[in-house]
Structures are given as structure tokens and as C-alpha cells.
Symmetry: D3
Subunit: 336 residues, 6 copies
């Protein structure tokens, strides 16, 4: 089977153990993640060949980050080791009504300073069927945006499916260009996008029609009209109860039809970081495996629900485990 | 007071800490347990003399397993140290809708290879009032089944009460005999059994009558008819909400009458392994302490509920702590 | 801004990690706390100058205890290092229906053996606007009671606001005097008290009128009548669901008017110790910051709710974080 | 085989992990030990029946202490659970030229408050061949001294061998009697004593003769003359290089003859607490096992050397492991 | 560059942390290793393409073992996932004069039960330049021996260099064939072997000539005469001081000439498991990189010395780090 | 007593536990340190009032860094909270012949971006007797160099003693100015400097005279000639045995006389970071406490030796502990 390839930044995540605050911590649990690479790793765990292209400092920290994904089966041979530092962030994990908080320290990373010409997309995508990227990547630096553009162009040229999590984060766009100017061209090259009503309004000025029965459908209709390459718009609807209790459902607008899953209830949440990425990897897997959108969407949402019970950014679950949940086994009976 | 004696295999349990998956773990928490020995240890904690007979490899691992039960007050002097390996299993602890999973590695253990003649039951039971065993033991090997048979015979001869958790696990019976052929003779020697409707059907072909108001009662009536030595049939009814949230109630059919407790709600569950064993130890304690079945059953169910909040297989609670729950103190107010 | 000064004993708290029982533990997590010093530390975290006066043994344990509060910004320069031992207690943290349990080992501590003359209150309170104490302090020893009396007298003399958490613990009063004889004089010097109906009855013989619509109001009315210096009576009303799930609301009776907040739901509870202290520090902060009782009380209750999600005795939250909860953001959405 | 019985206090030991200082620690490793009980536990590990008589508070802490010794095979049935607190101490573990430091918090313990009549020595020693005690026990309180006296008297009456580690600690004698007045009568009942030249001078005014070739021999000669029941005087000679590097040899004066082992070199030292106790248990084991003093003394010293590599107070080594060292295998080659 | 391929069993290693004994441990540190796979992983770390062929149970434990090597860059695509259990062993890590001890639990593993036809050596070795195996593999089972034979035959056919660590472990050969009958044919196909005088005598009856100046040279001369394909015989000479202090030097007999390095002193030893494997990987790297035997041997020995300071079985060092030691920088000055 | 004030950057230090490499680590131990702030903290521990002026990001990470020093008694009220990130570095702790390695990630820190006008030196130094700085500070940025210059000028104006650790690190000077141009003016304002022969040559072009009996003396003579304000030149001479074994001695050139201590042997080294800083704090303490240079130098060197046994950057030792070493007690005998 051909690979799914992702492109983007991988950061070190540092968290005080056991809900401690930073001022109490004497050690930090570390893991590594990135919105795109998490998709590759989850797919590898589901049994699908996956590769990631990224850029890391050529020091012990950078190599440790890359090895973390290698551990979980991602082909990292196209990664570049150049530059000074790995982006990182500190995560205080909340509980109940106390929210988790992130302190970012990601500027001027090796990834931000990448040169587009370091990535030979024809080679990287030579054995691939799918390219996935996120809106975080073009937000990081002009060169990262340029590389994303070149990757999408190559993917289209080579006949791959292209997907994106548009994921607009206002604060990230600091290098002098506006998301509103950069993103449309990139999104135009996509077959599938994860996009919420908020993202659509912020990035493309698309608002759900006033009085629309379903704002997601309304937004999606306009989105596919604006970007005719897009055939599928998907998203999760979170009904967050507390930092420890989440309810999610999956939404999809596919070729004119609307799909929606039941709610999945997750209580307690073990780790919510990467919940969206696992939805996407689940949907990619589902698309390539099942014949109906309903199945693919249910698989994706069940996978995302499971992710909330897994520590770290990556959804370390097998396809059989997701199918077990899909089959309605959500009471967690001991499996011997 | 005379001892309660249990017989069976003790295994090492290895779990990744903090809900991690095995592929993420760099250390494993260890504890030791067995469905029968857990009963002995819980009784010792409740203040009742208890002994266990088992078989361990004569190496550092085997001795560590035995010492774990010695720590909690079980008389281990009748244990035999012979053989090569301790049975073990890996437990990935789930959360919320993710089930806990067990990978067994228990074949060819020292216990499976025991010789019946290593156990002098007249001596082992010489100071005892009660023998308890589980259906796991005769499932392990022909010699283990034979030793169980001899233990029951000796117990009957010496006038002890005999109880069993019939606990049918299809996958375990690998040594060439069928549970359906072995178990009836063993169960026939019991005064009290833990048995669910599923166990009764699988092992003895006993089905609750169609249309019976209460399937447990219907099953129990047939069971005591088939095995006239049995005076008490007990079980817990689990209403599992998720891997982290359990509701249990206790059921008993005693000399023609049916008893049932209220539900006990456990959220979150700290450790569900050994929940059934703690119900049995609670019922044995209750039988020997209280004058009514209702009290004994409530004690047993409250004890089992508490067990779900204790880490490890063994129910490390005092009688006073169980009675505190029995008295309705289930809101967990701080005790100074 | 002038300081809030607290006076009282700080103890070492030793807890088995991860809900273990003491008989299972091979290490104990340690922290330090005291009902009064916790108030000082929380205020320091909220950005208000705070100092604590106490007494510690002049050894590595005593200094570690004092440094713990220095870490969180409390001015400890008025502490005395004299005596033999630090009071301590062992805490088994429960879960669900299993209550947390405390084993105290606090007698004959350095604090209990303090000499009142070691504390020069005019100097200690010289830069202060507020003195806070708890009913635990005069319970510890005659000299501690005497020092409390002198502190209150000095505070009144210097024009400070005085508050107390009356916090009656029957078992503590072991040195030959009765709380009922000692406390009234001390409480008479207070402007604000935390007092429940139970405390009022036990300490002052004040019972809510039979048939009173609101027992807290009825009690408070009598309390302010008895002790005319008191202008504010506050308390939290706990609706404890389990050791892991708490609901609290704040109550206040201020100059004849009654105030009450909504319930705050905390599930799971990370650490309930210090929940009351954080309510008080929140109310002191609120009093000195907001113009209405409603705001102060809501701030106090939100602060206390947050405390239940923080490990250790001290409420390590900023004012902005409490205000975030006050503004209704209780679903714990990730803050980037 | 008959039991070796020990009598004395068991304390909780609390140490910051990994050489940290108390002011840096957020958890403390805990273990339990006592100079006499350590001897019982090491003997149990060597395969010799051993029992300990002591007194613990009847709370979770006291029971945990007793269970620690039960774990390692010591018969604890003669222990009494009465009183308020367990003695404890804080240990900062040094390294290299930084010495380890102890902060004691042991006064007014359950053991110190024992009543001699709680111990029925005829019953406790009924199945014993040997009684061992240390000079710490009579130092703790008048009642502890009295109980020691009664134990020795019973042992003599029942024909047991009696041994003592005289272990003079000046600071401990706080209850109003002088060691110099109490100890001689107790030591007079012993067959074997561990005693250094310093101890002999401090306790009995015995000084090695000026110009004696061997001060230990000179002291021992006078000691056996003063106390004719004593047949054996033993001691270790430490040649401490640093907190991490120890050299020890064993000395014995037995019925007029002097014995001395080679030096055993221990680098690094894992845990030096209990090094003397393991020497004594080794010598008791050696006496009851070997035919020559040389073998017994070498066994004892090798056992003590091994103890320095074991974490905790108790020498968790088998006889075969000690014999392996005795046979000269001190280079630590991997044993498969 | 073409791959170095290794073949053999990978086991889970379970060790109590911080020099604890098994009877004290409540968690076990885990890692995975195998004498051959360790060579592959070290080579990957040195920057040389490496692959491993092995067999694992198709469960979470087996996959975790394989992922451990994937993490460090070994190509695991030729591994087979079939069978029931992963071999494992318990390691108590000694210190000073206390030896480390291993308790094996490796029989009947998935690897032992492999079928030779599962390995298509022409494919596995298709992109390789070197095959390395150890004497442990043919000791495990008849099928493992057969697969080894087939691998060597294929390697010879394809023109690869073949090396072996003959590593005779008497206890392992349990399946009915003698090492003396199996090994000669396998060794006959090797170009390079690690072999000590003891191995040569036990396996091949080759004894160093009496009075030989250098027993290693004498043995090697006979070995190359017997097995003319062998061009290089290498070994390490250990001068073990204690479990914590090692001295090693490297020996080589290459085409008639003898080479020997200086001693490398390692104090303290962090982890000695895999010390030999790192010597071999170092020599393979050295052979393929340097022009002289002296350089290759010094690189190998320096690499092995470094391995003793690395936790786990695998030598996680870069070529630059080994070269830093080769250049004489053995005093461990901080590198910024 | 008046304060010693230090100025400089504090960084977070992140280390894999227990000698692991970064690619193996799943958590990182954290501490905070800076060459100048470490001096302040050690002085506070020695009982001397100390304050530090620095600049931190106004987020949870920056406040945690400042609190770390507050914990140990440093007055942090003059610190500024402005900017984006805290400088940090990763430390792999070596052992034996494997060197510890640092990966820096410190550019563009809040401290580097400080504005000199944020520091009101007349206020900061208003209650001080001493200012200490290091050569790292002016290397970080032009504004940091400017602030250093202003601090020295203010100190001179206010009559303080000024000391510096010249500590030349070539790699740090990246902002466009040369150390050789910046440092002379700053050093000219110092009364005491720590300076090695290498530093003197690199920074000031001062070479020990060829054939000088003592290169340190020769260098020092030239240094005091060049910078007449300097009265004392001190340094440690390291005779590093391995990453785990250090030998140090102290050197001083004071008003024309040369002093030198004996070697202090540290084996094993617990933590070598901050060893030089502890020498300086020891010398400052010694200068202000003792009457002779010999005593001050011995105190400083003993303090530094002790530091090597303390985890973290800061020398957490009391004056009594240093004096214990000064008195020759270097064998680490247990202190009760």
C-alpha cells in the first residue's frame, strides 16, 4: 500500500506530572508531537504506511524528537536535520473546572528556518497516495508556507489526494503575512478539509447563512463552492463538560450530503492533546478502508474518542480496537 | 479462630503506570495475585486467620510472590517452591471507554507443574474451618485439578466448609480435559458457590427457565437441586458504565430465599482486578460474623465496592472500614 | 500594599502516592501546610503581600517547612526556629466511596512548645493591614492560645482587620482548657469569621432557631449579636458526592444581608485539603479588591473550587485564573 | 529449628531520594528498621526461624511497620499494638565527603510507653533458642529497660543463648537513669556481646591497657573477667574512606583466642544503615551453622559487607550469596 | 551504504530500580535486547544502515519489543509476528562486591518456535553487505539452529561478510542437540568471530598450547587453521574489579598478526549488559571505516567502554563520541 | 548585615534522570541556575543576606524560575518579569569516561532582551555591601553588557566590593561585540576576580611568563598590574579523574602572596554544575567571616568540594557543614 505523507513541525511537549503546576514541578514528562505528524503516527499504528517530512536541529534533542515517531512506525527518512533549536511548549494539565494551559516557546525553531529547497517533493511523495498538512505549518514562517505550497503542487501533479486541517491560530501568524492571504491558495489544492464555522469565517470570510438549520452544512456548502477541489468537509463538535470530561461527535459534509455520529462520552479524559489529529487519521483510514461515509466518520470519531484515553499526542490504537468501540463496546469491560 | 485456607496459582501482574500502553512504557508496576489467594489476604486484613497453599519457582521471583502475601498476613508455610517459572500477565489499564486489556503469559508455570503429592491436605487443613478454591485452578493442568479434588475431599472429611468461585474461563482449559467433565465433581463438594447464569449454562448446562422472573434465582434453584451439598449461591451483578465507572450489587440465594443489595456506585474505579475475590472474602467474613444473610451480603458487596478503590489485587480494608460503608457513609468525607 | 499576616502551626503532610494505602507505600509524597499559613501563601500567589509567624524546630525538617512557604512568596522573617520536632500527619488519599484518612502525629511539636514572648507582635504586625488566625492554634497548647490572644490584642491596637476560621476540632483540645472557655474571648476580637452552624453550637451554644428558614442566617444573627465586633460571617456549604466529587457554594452574612453563590461542581477532586483555607484567602482578597459582597463571595468560592484541582495545601492560582472561573468558564477548555 | 527472638523498637525511616537534601525533596523513600528486628529479618532471610517482640501504635503506620518485617518472614505475632505514635527519623544520604545525616523524631513513641507486663516472655521465648537485644532498647524508657531485664531473665531461665549489641548512644539516655547504672546488670546475662573499645570505656569504665598490642583483645579480656557469662566478644573495625566507600573487617575474642578477618572493600556503598546488625545476624547464623569461629566470623563479615550493597536496613541476602563472597568471589561477575 | 543484518532472539529485561532486590521491588524498569539485535541498533546509532530479523508474539508485548529497536533506527521489516510469548529475564543489578543476578524465563518463546521457512534470506539479505549472528541463536531450538544455517548459507551465496559471537552458554542447549555438533558447521561459514579461549575449548576442543606466550594467539592460530574461512578472531579481556568497576581491553588476531589495546577503566559501571555486543558493533564499524586493525580495534574497545556508561542493552553513542574517547579524552570533562 | 547582590541570567536546566541519554528519556528532571544567582543562593544558605537582579518572562516558567531562588532564601524583589522565553539547556549527565554534554537553547531569552533602564541600581544596591557578576552576562547581549557596566559603576559609587568570575566562553559572544573589547572596562571595576590562566590569555592577552615557577602567580601579577583595583585573584585547579571522580584545590593571589589548599577528593561526583560558583560564594563568605586568606580559601574549596555532592546548581550547605569538612572530617561518617 502506498504511503500517507505529512509535513509540519514537531515540538517537544513538557508537562508537570500528575496535574501539578509548573511552580511545583521538579520533573517534566516529555513527549513529542505535531498536528500533522500525529496523523502519520496514528495511521502507522492502524497499519497504514506513513511518512513524515520535517526539519529538526541536528542535536540530541532533534534526533530524540524524530526517533519518537520512528518508534511508532513512521518513515522519517525524508526529515532534514539542520538548525539550532526544537520548538517546545510547556503544558500544565488541568482537571475538572481548571483548564489545561500551554506556554509556547516555539519561535525561531529549526523548522521555522527551513529552506524549501531542502525538500524534494517528487522524491518524498514518490511512493505516496495521500498528502496531509495543517494550517499551522504556513503560519510558522514564510519558508514553511512556501514549502507547503510546493508540497501541495507536487501532490496534485502526482495525483495524490490532499487533505488539510485548516486550524486557524491567530497568534501564530507573526512573520509578516496574513493567513487570509496565504491560506486560500493552499486550501484550493485540497480534496478534503477539516474546518469549523469559526475557521471558515476567520480565514475565508464565509459565514453560515443566518437562520440556516445547520451552520456546518451552510458553511460547507459555501466552502466547496469557493474551492471546487474540496469534496469533503469534516469536523468534530465538542460538548466539553470539564477539563476531565468530554463529549464529541463527528460531522461530515460529503458531496452534498450531511452526516453526523452519535455523541461519544469520555470521562475521565486522560489526554486531550491530539484529539483532532486522531479524528483526521481515523477519517483517512476510514476513507481508504470502508465503503460508506457513515462508517468512515464513525471510525474517525470512535478513534478520536479513544485518543482522549491515551497519553501523549499520538493515537496508539489498533484498527481492531477502534472497531470494538464502533461496535458499541463503550463500557470498558476488561478484555482478557 | 481457625483458618480459612485457599489453594491456587499466584501470578505476577505487570502494568504500565498511569494508563500507558505497553509500547509507551519504560517501567511496569508489579503486584502479585490469584483469585483464591486474594481471598485469603483480604480475610487476613479483616482480622481472620488465613493460609494459602500454592506452588512457586524456587527463585527470586517465586519468593517475592510468596512474600507479597506474607506481607499482608497470609500464612504461606504450606507453599511449595519447585519448578521453573512464575505465571505472569501484562495488564494495560484502560480508562473511560477504553477497556483494560490483559496479555497472559502463564503456561507451563511452576503451579501448572505441581505434583498432587506435594500437598498433605490433612496437615494443611488441620487447623482450618474453611476451604476456598476457584474454577481457575482445575483449568490449569491435570495435576492442579487432581490436587483440587484431593483438597476438597480432605476438607469434607475434616468437616470444613467448602466454597468455590466457579469462574469459567474457556480459554484456560488447554490440557486435554473439558471443564464440563471436571467441574461437576468438584462443585458437588461445595457448600457455597459463586456462580453466574452464564457460568451455570456453560459448565452445567443449567439455563434459567424461560420467562423466569429472576434468572439468578431460577439458575440457583436448579443448581442446588443438582448439587445438594450447595446451600448458598452468590454473585455480583455489574452494571458497568465505563472502564472508570462501575456499579455493583450483590445477589444471594440461600436456602430457598433470594437476597439482593442496593447498587454501590464506584467512580472512579482505581483498580477493578480482584473485585469478585473481595466479594467472596467479604461473604465468608460476613457468614462467620453476622447472623443474617442480608448483613453478610451487604458486607460482601460493600467490601467489593471498596476494593475497586484499592490498588492491586488484594482488598486492603479493615472490617471497620467496610462497616463504615455498610452504614451508608459512601460520600467519602475525610476521616481525621 | 500592607501585608496580611497569619499565625499558626505548619505541619509536614506525608501521603502514599496514587491512592495507595500506607501498608503498600514505599515512598511518601510530602508537602507542608497549615490552616493559617495556607491563607498567607494563597494571598501571595494572588499578588497580595503576606507574612506568616510560626515556630519550627531548628533542624533540616523545620527549615524545609519554612522554605516551602518562602517558595510561594510568603515573608517568613518573623518565624522562630526553636524546639525539637515538626508536627506531621499521614494522609491516605481515598477515591470514590473510600474516604481519605488522616493519622496525626502532631503532639509536642516545636509550635506547641512556643513561648509567647518570642513573638513581638508590634513588630510583626507593623507593616500589616490584616491578621488572620484559626481555631486550631489556641487548641494546640496554652502558650499557643496565649500568643493568639496577644496577636489579636496587638492587631486591634494597631487598627488591623482581624479574621478567624473558628474551625472547632474537639480532639485537638488536650492541654487542659476547654475551647468553650478560650475561644469566645478570641472571637470577640474579630471582624470576620468563618463559622458553621455546628461550630457555633459546639463553641458558643448558639443554635439556629427551630424553624428558621435559613439556619446559617439564624446562627449568624445570633453570632454578631453576641460578638458585636463581627461584621461578616462566611462559610462554604459542601454537598459532597464522593471522595472524588465535590460540590460547594459560598455563604455570607454581611451586615444583616445574606448572600449565596451558585454551586461549583468539582469532579474529579485532585486534593481537597486546604479547600476551606482557599475560600478564606479568596474572601480576604475579594474584600480588599471588589466593591460588592457578591463579587468577593463569588471570587472566594471560585478560588476554593479551583483549589480542589491543585495538589498540596496551598491554592496556587492567580487572580486572573479565578476571575476566568468567575466569568463562567468552568468547562476547562484548553488555554493556549 | 527453634527461633531466634529479638526485642526492641522499630522506627520509620524517611529519606529524600537520590542524595537530595530535605529542603529539595518532594517525596521521601520510606522503610522500617530497628537494630534488633533487623537481626531477626536477616536471619529469616538466611533461612533461620526468627521472631520479634515490639510495640507499635494501633494505626495504619504501626501496622505498616510490622508488616514490613512480616514481609521478610519474621514472626510478628508477639508484637503489641498500643499507643500513639511510631518513632521516626529523617535520613539525608550523603555521598563522597558529605556525611549522611539523621534527624531523629522518636520520643514518646508507642514503644517508649510500653508496659512490661504486655510481654509474656515465657510464651514469647517458648519456642526459641536465642534472645538478642541491643543497648538502644534500655536507653529508650524505664519500662523498656525493665522489659529488657525481664526478657533476659526469662531467657536465662529457659536456657537460651543471649546476645547483645551494647551500642552506647549517649544522647538517647534521657529518661532519668544512666546507662552506666542500667547496662551492667543486663550485659551480665549475655553469652555474646558486640562491643567496641569505646563502648567498654563509656559503659563499664574498661580501658584497653596502655601499650597493649591489640586494644580489642585487651578490652575483651577485661570484659569477660567482669562478666563471666560472656564467652564471645565481637566487633567490626571500619576503615571508612568516604560516605561512598567503606572497608570493614571482623574481630572476635572467643574463649581466650583472637580472630580477625581480611578487609572487605565496599565501593560504592548503597546503604550503610544496618551494617552492624547484619554482622551480628551473620555471626549468630555462623555460630549455629559452622564448627569454627573463623568460619562464623568470616560469614558474619561477608554478610555485613553485602549488606552495604542492599537498600534498606535489612540484609536481604541468602546464605548461598554470603558463601559465594566467603569463597572469594568479590569481583561481582554477573551470575546467570 | 548496504545494511548489516542480524538474526536472533530479542527478550524483555525487567530490573528492579536502583539496585533493589526483587523482593523489595514494586516496579521493574524494562528494556529489550538481544546479543545480535544490540549490534544492529548500535550500528544504526553509529550511522550505518542495519536491519534485524527475528520473531515475536503477535501481541502488545511483542510489538513493544520490536518498536524498541525501530526507535533506535533498526529496520525491522523482516521480523515475523507469530507465537505466544516473548522470552524475558529478571535482572537484579548488583553493586560493589554484590554480583548482578539474572533469573531467566525464556523457554518456549515465539522465537524458539519459529519456522525456518518464515525467513526468506535472499530477500532479507538482498540489500546487505554483512550478516552477524551469535551462538545463542542455534542454542535456542532446532528450528532456530536451522534458520541460522540457512541464513549463513544465503549470506555466503550472496557474497556477504559473515561474523559470529560464538558465545557458548552451556545451560541454554536444552533441545536435544549438542553445541559441539551444531556450531562447527555454522562457524565454518564465518569471516570473523568473537571467541575466547574458554569458548574454543568447550566448543571445538581447541586448547591454547601449553607454555604459549599468549593463549589468545595460540587459540586463534588453531581456530583459523580449523576454519579457513575465518580471517579475524577478536575478544575483550575483562579485568573485573567489582560489579561497579570494570577494566577492559580489546584483542585481535588478524591474518597472523596480534593486536591489543590499552586498558579502559570504567568506574562506575552504569550497565554492563551488552558490553560485548558493543565491542562487536564497534569492530564491524571500524572494519568498514578505518584502514588499520589498530584503529578498528581501538574504536571497538572504546565503544565498549562507553557502553558500560549507557543504560540498557544498546550502545547509544555516536561515532564522534567514540572517536573522542579514542583520542584519549577519558576524563569526562563537561562538553558544552 | 548588608546584602550580597548578584546580577545575571537564570536558565532552566533539563536532564534525563539516572544518566539516561535524551533519546531514552521520558521525563526530564528540572532545576534552575545561573552562575551569579547560584552565588546568591549559596550565600543565603550560609546565612548571609543575598539578593539577585534578573529578568524573566512573565509566564508560569519565568515565575517558577524565580521562585526556585526564593525557596532558598534569595531576595528576588528586584527581578523584572518581561519578555517571551526563559533560556534553557539540556544536560545529559555522563558517568566514568563518558562526559556530560550540554545542548543550549538560550538565545533570545527575556534576559537577553532586557532594557538597562529596568534596573535602578541605586535602589537595588541600596542595602548591599557586595556586587558579584560573571563574564557570561556581558556575553549575552549588548543591553546585558550595558546593564552590567551600570551596575558596576553604581557599586563603585556606593562603595561596595565588586567581584567577578571572568569565565570566558567564546561561543556565547554572538551579538556583535568582542569579549576582548567589552570585558577590560568591566573587570577594571573589580576588587576580586576568579580568573584562570586561559581566561587571562584569551581576554586580556596576558600570558604567564615562560619559565614561571607558578603560572597562576605569574598571570595574577600581571592582572593586578593591568587592573589596579583588583586585590585578589582566585581560582580552582581541577584534576579531573573522570565524569564521576574529581579532585580540586583552591588557589589565591592576594596582595602579592600566593595561597593554595590541599586537594579535595570527590568520588563519586553527584553534580558538578555550579562547582565554581560555590567556590566563589565560599570565598565571599570566608572573606567576610575569617581573618586570614588561608581560612577563607580553605572554606571556599571545602564548600566547592561539598557542592559536588549536592544535586542541582546551588550549594545547599550550611556554614557548619563546610567547617566540618575544613576540620578534616572528609570520610563521611554518619552524623546522628
Amino acid at each position: 500500500m502506498k504511503q500517507v505523507v505529512t509535513f509540519g513541525e514537531i515540538m517537544m511537549r513538557l508537562s508537570p506530572p500528575q496535574n501539578l503546576r509548573l511552580s511545583q514541578a521538579h520533573s517534566l514528562d516529555i513527549t513529542y508531537g505535531g498536528g500533522d505528524a500525529n496523523v502519520a503516527a496514528a495511521l502507522a499504528y492502524l497499519g497504514m504506511p506513513a511518512a513524515h517530512a520535517g526539519c529538526f536541529p541536528d542535536n540530541a534533542v532533534g534526533h530524540a524528537a524524530a526517533q519518537h515517531f520512528q518508534h511508532h512506525g513512521v518513515d522519517m527518512q525524508h526529515c532534514v536535520f539542520q538548525g539550532q533549536r526544537l520548538g517546545l511548549y510547556f503544558l500544565e494539565v488541568g482537571a475538572s473546572l481548571r483548564a489545561s494551559r500551554i506556554v509556547y516557546d516555539r519561535y525561531d525553531s529549526a523548522f521555522a528556518n527551513l529552506q524549501p529547497e531542502w525538500f524534494d517533493w517528487d522524491k518524498i511523495l514518490g511512493n505516496a497516495q495521500w498528502l496531509h498538512w495543517t494550517g499551522i505549518t504556513p503560519a510558522i514562517s514564510a519558508t514553511a508556507a512556501q514549502a507547503t505550497k510546493e508540497a501541495i503542487a507536487a501532490a496534485r501533479r502526482l495525483g495524490l489526494t490532499v487533505s488539510a486541517d485548516v486550524n486557524y491560530r491567530r497568534n501564530l501568524w507573526q512573520y509578516g503575512q496574513r493567513a487570509q492571504d496565504v491560506m486560500p491558495e493552499l486550501v484550493a489544492g485540497c480534496d478534503m478539509v477539516v474546518c469549523t464555522e469559526g475557521d471558515a469565517e476567520d480565514l475565508f470570510g464565509i459565514k453560515a447563512e443566518a437562520g440556516a438549520e445547520n451552520s456546518f452544512v451552510s458553511m460547507s456548502q459555501q466552502l466547496v463552492q469557493r474551492f471546487p477541489q474540496i469534496k469533503q468537509v469534516i469536523a468534530t463538535r465538542r460538548n466539553t463538560q470539564s477539563a476531565s470530561h468530554e463529549r464529541i461527535r463527528g460531522l461530515a459534509y460529503v458531496e452534498g450530503d450531511y452526516y453526523e455520529t452519535e455523541d461519544f462520552d469520555i470521562n475521565p479524559v486522560v489526554d486531550r492533546i491530539g484529539g483532532g489529529d486522531s479524528f483526521i487519521s481515523g477519517f483517512i483510514y476510514g476513507q481508504l478502508t470502508y465503503s460508506t461515509v457513515t462508517e468512515a466518520l464513525t471510525f474517525a470519531t470512535a478513534a478520536s474518542a479513544l485518543k482522549h484515553t491515551i497519553s501523549g499526542d499520538i493515537n496508539l490504537v489498533t484498527a481492531a480496537e477502534v472497531e470494538h468501540i464502533m461496535a458499541g463496546n463503550t463500557t470498558g469491560r476488561l478484555l482478557r
